[in-house]
Symmetry: C2
Subunit: 298 residues, 2 copies
């Protein structure tokens, strides 16, 4: 029996995703306006850890599904994540000049083009997912796309982004508002990833329910540890600059509960996530994802 190697598995998934993203970038785009195309794929190629698409593939594989079926939804979700970063960096939102050590999209292409490039990635995500569904006629694909649309749209991520700008610089660090922002901006996208993987593997309802519970706790853990890393200045996980959220006057778990309180909340969220996996076979990747997040908060 080969021992489970989280880093090797993550790298394998990441390679599959990045190869497919390059394929999408290199073909079928002949009639896209050249500068729009450049702006879209500039940000998509900068890339990060590709946490969300790796989760889509890992969950699909864990449940015995075919990676080929999950791949369009992994790529679609990564395009949507990238579009949200482009818009977050805009002067009228967070006004960030840099993203992952490189100029943000609007610094290179202009604000109007950055707005369009974001929407271009969102639209292309749906095109890529629809193409897969049209080809496979697979209901699991439709359910995956539906989950992604709902959780990245007004009911999910966009509500988190909207609440975030409305409460920026707010002195009242309200727990309910903080939870709302995290639920939508972070947990919804991670939940979309996990459930897209499940649907493309044809998971039954019980498995979907367990994985949804896992993902919600993981989303909370992710945001708490991110806040801790932000304060600690060890920001590799999200590719952020030192203490950026705190400096921007944004609410974080650390600001609200202090470092120790945040660490305790992280431990609790991690336990809930791991508990949710109890009925799932071979949950190594999902368990290790939680442990890796948690260890960074210590």
């Amino acid at each position: 029996m080969i021992e489970f190697d989280y880093d090797r598995e993550s790298e394998r998934y990441r390679d599959i995703v990045e190869k497919e993203l390059r394929r999408i970038a290199s073909c079928e785009n002949g009639n896209v306006y050249p500068k729009l195309l450049d702006a879209m794929f500039y940000s998509l190629e900068v890339g990060g850890k590709r946490i969300r698409p790796c989760l889509v593939l890992a969950v699909c594989e864990m449940l015995g599904g075919n990676l080929e079926n999950a791949l369009p939804f992994a790529c679609g979700l990564e395009m949507i994540h990238t579009y949200s970063l482009i818009h977050d960096d805009l002067p009228c939102v967070d006004n960030d000049d840099m993203r992952r050590g490189r100029p943000s999209n609007h610094k290179l292409f202009g604000e109007g083009m950055a707005v369009f490039a974001g929407c271009g990635l969102l639209s292309l995500a749906f095109e890529v997912m629809l193409k897969a569904v049209l080809k496979s006629n697979d209901r699991g694909g439709l359910l995956a796309m539906n989950e992604i649309a709902y959780r990245s749209g007004a009911h999910g991520m966009l509500s988190g982004q909207a609440a975030d700008i409305e409460n920026e610089g707010s002195t009242s660090q309200d727990e309910e508002v903080l939870a709302y922002i995290h639920e939508h901006k972070t947990a919804d996208m991670l939940t979309a990833a996990v459930l897209a993987g499940a649907y493309t593997a044809g998971a039954d309802e019980k498995t979907v329910d367990a994985l949804r519970a896992y993902a919600l706790s993981m989303g909370l853990l992710f945001q708490i540890t991110d806040a801790i890393l932000d304060v600690k200045g060890d920001s590799a996980m999200m590719g952020k600059t030192l203490g950026k959220d705190a400096a921007n006057g944004k609410m974080t778990y650390v600001g609200l509960y202090g470092l120790d309180g945040a660490r305790m909340a992280a431990e609790k969220a991690a336990k809930l996530a791991l508990d949710a996996l109890k009925g799932i076979e071979s949950p190594d990747y999902l368990e290790e994802t939680i442990r890796r997040m948690l260890v960074r908060s210590r």
Copy 2:
């Protein structure tokens, strides 16, 4: 036999669309951030002639399809059209304070929120269309959604918007660039409307081809007559203010060919559109749409 009444038919379609848009606005949105929801539906409710969704319904009905099947795609397309207007009005794009006689979205809700409201409508459009496909399991619905995604995304409308801002204020009024902008910003969305109606009615390939040819010529006609109206100051059709495009330094057909040349181009486009309908039964609504567009250019 009841005589065909274009205005009555248009009003009937518009009533169906607006009733459904109000239904969508009033339900299922409990967890959307309130200000985001307000911003999204503010612009959607301002409304115009609803030309695109009326076309979806008219084509579906003309081909013997069920209006219920076409309605989610009619509404989806109108949401996407509205999102494009919100983003077009942004300070970093056209910087328009007014739209259809009311403050533009960002003037009321702020620029960041307007960016998110646009994306919220785009995402909601896909949610509404996906819900219909998941319920009906109808391949025609999938094809309609695919057409709308492609023609409103980077391959279509967004490329027109990108080309438009890049060429704004340009002194070289280049025919090729002008045609490119019109093809993508206008014709693609009208084509999406006509073909979405055809797909939801289960149209055969020959009918789809004929209607695609019709829509492309209609798109050209629409843009030419719009440019003529813009110069004439009779701008009711698009709800624009007097000579706005010309004042903005944007290329138009009138600037390129003069008023007489533009009128001749309009006549030619109208003839091509009507010719394309020759194999279609009861094309009254589509024929009259062309005649109404043409008469405004005289």
